[in-house]
């Protein structure tokens, strides 16, 4: 009895402490996350004005956003996100695998190399790609001098350039989670598989890949979601013929006449799409885990 009383008192004290400790963060989220989102939600149901909005309820923004006008935008962004994620998995896996199997000293050096780009400003890195890919840029220079091509290639301001730079920027976000699962992977499992008759390829597909699934999943989320809303990279190395969702949303706010409701609606559709996708993936993931825990 006595024990029970003391337990609840301790419990209360613990609760109080945890509330006190989490309050600043909760306030922060409320002021800088939830309230802005509420504003966005409210704006998406208003009617546009040249500079601002009219406080009149309307569903026009959603009607238009989900209509044929923006189909291409959604498609382009989705394609970009899928391609970037796929390429990051394909390029990142061997790298992560190699680092995971390297000796400790080399491992740390290589990891630093993966992280170094984060130390340089993103815009600077994108601009160096512009110099590299430009019509009179470094890449064309090298290729011409090497005699591979006769005339410079038009890479800058194409969708190819967007993909290239996207993969470059997001690759570390794929490599690091992949590395963390592959590092924990017990490589004697591969020997066991080979011992049981699986050649290297079969051992990879039946052992390594399923056991790395969590890393692929985490990395894909880290790449796919930001890629879906990409703005900076398409803006700096892409062209104006194929506009991505992030660019369209920005233009709706930047260009006069402004269309706040449209920008808000597009943002919310993007958010909703990502949320649904995430919930689906998590449900799938949970089910595969639950199957294991029966």
């Amino acid at each position: 009895m006595n024990q029970g009383v003391r337990f609840t008192r301790d419990q209360n004290r613990k609760n109080l402490a945890s509330w006190l400790l989490t309050t600043p963060a909760l306030l922060w989220l409320l002021i800088f996350f939830l309230i802005p989102y509420l504003i966005v939600i409210i704006y998406s149901f208003l009617t546009p004005d040249i500079y601002d909005v009219n406080f009149e309820f309307s569903l026009d923004a959603y009607r238009q956003a989900l209509g044929a006008d923006y189909l291409k935008t959604f498609f382009l962004s989705f394609r970009l996100a899928v391609l970037t994620t796929l390429l990051c998995v394909l390029l990142g896996f061997p790298v992560a695998y190699y680092i995971a199997r390297a000796k400790d000293k080399l491992k740390n050096t290589l990891l630093v190399f993966i992280i170094i780009p984060f130390w340089t400003n993103l815009i600077i890195r994108i601009f160096s790609w512009r110099i590299f890919l430009a019509y009179n840029g470094v890449l064309n220079d090298i290729l011409i001098k090497a005699g591979v091509i006769g005339a410079p290639l038009e890479i800058m301001r194409t969708d190819l350039a967007v993909i290239l730079v996207m993969v470059y920027v997001y690759l570390p976000y794929m490599i690091l989670p992949l590395y963390s699962v592959l590092e924990k992977l017990d490589f004697t499992l591969l020997q066991a598989a080979m011992d049981l008759g699986a050649n290297e390829l079969k051992a990879f597909f039946r052992i390594t890949l399923p056991l790395a699934a969590e890393g692929i999943f985490a990395g894909s989320l880290l790449v796919f979601i930001p890629a879906l809303g990409a703005y900076l990279i398409p803006q700096l190395v892409g062209n104006q013929k194929s506009l991505y969702l992030g660019q369209v949303i920005t233009y709706k706010i930047k260009n006069i006449p402004r269309n706040w409701p449209m920008a808000s609606a597009l943002s919310l559709i993007l958010l909703f799409g990502v949320a649904v996708l995430l919930l689906l993936l998590f449900a799938l993931y949970k089910r595969s885990k639950a199957r294991r825990r029966v």
Binding site: D186, T188, L189, Q191, A192, A193, M194, D195, L196, G197, A198, N199, K202, R206, I207, P210, L211, R292, V294
Partner: protein
């Protein structure tokens, strides 16, 4: 009958010789153990048979097929790994079925065989569990089932019991023997645990520094060690180096280096050519020596020494006495049987008699010196008591 032949196998890693010119035939159906301290090359040898290491020299044959250069997945050899290496993302059933699935065995046949195999290892009621839901001993059984289902010609076991606790280890040892009897294929067993190797094996190869020091049935190695290393690595022993001081037809007299001029006899039915004055080393197992406070009745084939008890270690089933005989120390095991001599327990510093039959004084052949490093000779030589005492305290 398909013998496994190891012919002049050698393996170097970065200038370090892990396996050094090993030649050996392992009979079909035999349970053969490689026994040695860590780093003696036994695991490398096993991995070469499995195909995970390519020898720098020598051939490996199963029957008449040379498998030296065949990749592991094409060898009819399966391995039980030290930590079992069960696939964590597969059920036990899927784990056992793995080899058959890879070989695209038809499903009905596969299901039947997996079920039979799970039954053999008494795990048929847990087929749908995952490896992290079962105990170490159960993992062990699944690993065995997963290997045996491929009908290998040889099953390799790499310290398979090292991760289990003592009771379970003893239990699994018996089960391993039963499984071996049931399937009748060749088992090659690698361990550093001499009692495991002794109890399970048809034959044992004692290894050190990449070489086989001695190979033979367990009792042969225990009773008739061919080297200081064999004698001291397997079981406990007293190693005494002394000078041959008398040669008779029945026995050879060895001067005991105890500093007080004692001597004892070695039965000369062992074929060796003694020369007067030559230094030889003998091994004398502690359990062969009787200890008594009263002087035993004289018999002409009994060796007797007088000493003082320096230490007593009670070990349950027996007591280990450390008896000082002049400058020498003898270890003596005595079981607690009251029907025998000393009713009253012996005490520290008590003068006692040590006596043993002269056939139990085992002469160790001169072995090539390079097999043992200087450190080991000093530890395993005349009085390697400190090391053995340390080992005692662990067990």
């Amino acid at each position: 009958m398909e013998e496994i032949k190891l012919q002049n196998l050698s393996k170097q890693f970065d200038g370090f010789t892990a396996v050094d010119d090993v030649s050996l035939n392992i009979k079909s159906g035999e349970l053969f153990s490689f026994l040695g301290p860590s780093g003696c090359g036994k695991t490398t040898l096993l991995r070469m048979i499995a195909g995970f290491e390519i020898p720098n020299n020598g051939r490996i044959l199963i029957g008449n097929t040379d498998i030296t250069d065949i990749p592991p997945y094409k060898r009819q050899v399966n391995t039980i790994f030290q930590n079992y290496s069960l696939f964590p993302h597969m059920t036990l059933f899927e784990n056992v079925a793995f080899g058959l699935k890879i070989r695209k065995t038809p499903k009905p046949e596969m299901n039947d065989r997996v079920k039979d195999m799970l039954k053999l290892v008494k795990m048929d009621d847990q087929a749908n569990k995952y490896p992290d839901q079962i105990s170490g001993g159960q993992k062990q059984r699944i690993a065995i089932a997963r290997a045996l289902i491929n009908n290998p010609k040889v099953l390799l076991l790499d310290e398979p019991l090292a991760a289990l606790d003592l009771k379970l280890r003893q239990h699994m040892l018996i089960e391993l023997m039963n499984i071996h009897d049931a399937v009748g294929i060749t088992f090659i067993y690698v361990t550093h645990d001499q009692s495991e190797a002794m109890s399970i094996s048809d034959r044992v190869a004692v290894m050190n520094h990449g070489r086989i020091i001695q190979a033979g049935p367990p009792d042969d190695i225990y009773e008739r060690p061919n080297s200081i290393f064999s004698a001291y690595f397997i079981g406990e022993t007293n190693l005494i180096t002394g000078e041959v001081c008398d040669i008779e037809s029945e026995y050879v007299q060895l001067r005991c280096p105890d500093g007080q001029g004692s001597s004892f006899e070695i039965d000369s039915t062992f074929h060796f050519n003694p020369t007067l004055g030559k230094e030889i080393t003998v091994s004398l197992r502690p359990e062969k020596i009787a200890i008594s406070r009263s002087k035993p009745r004289y018999q002409d084939d009994i060796n007797m020494l007088r000493g003082v008890i320096e230490d007593i270690l009670y070990l349950g089933s027996h007591t280990q006495y450390i008896v000082r005989v002049g400058a020498l120390k003898f270890r003596v095991f005595s079981q607690h049987k009251r029907v025998y001599f000393d009713d009253k327990a012996l005490d520290w510093e008590e003068p006692v008699w040590l006596f043993w039959h002269d056939t139990d004084t085992w002469l160790i052949d001169q072995i090539p010196e390079e097999v043992l490093s200087a450190k080991e000779i000093s530890e395993g030589g005349v009085n390697h008591l400190s090391r053995s005492a340390k080992r005692q305290s662990i067990t």
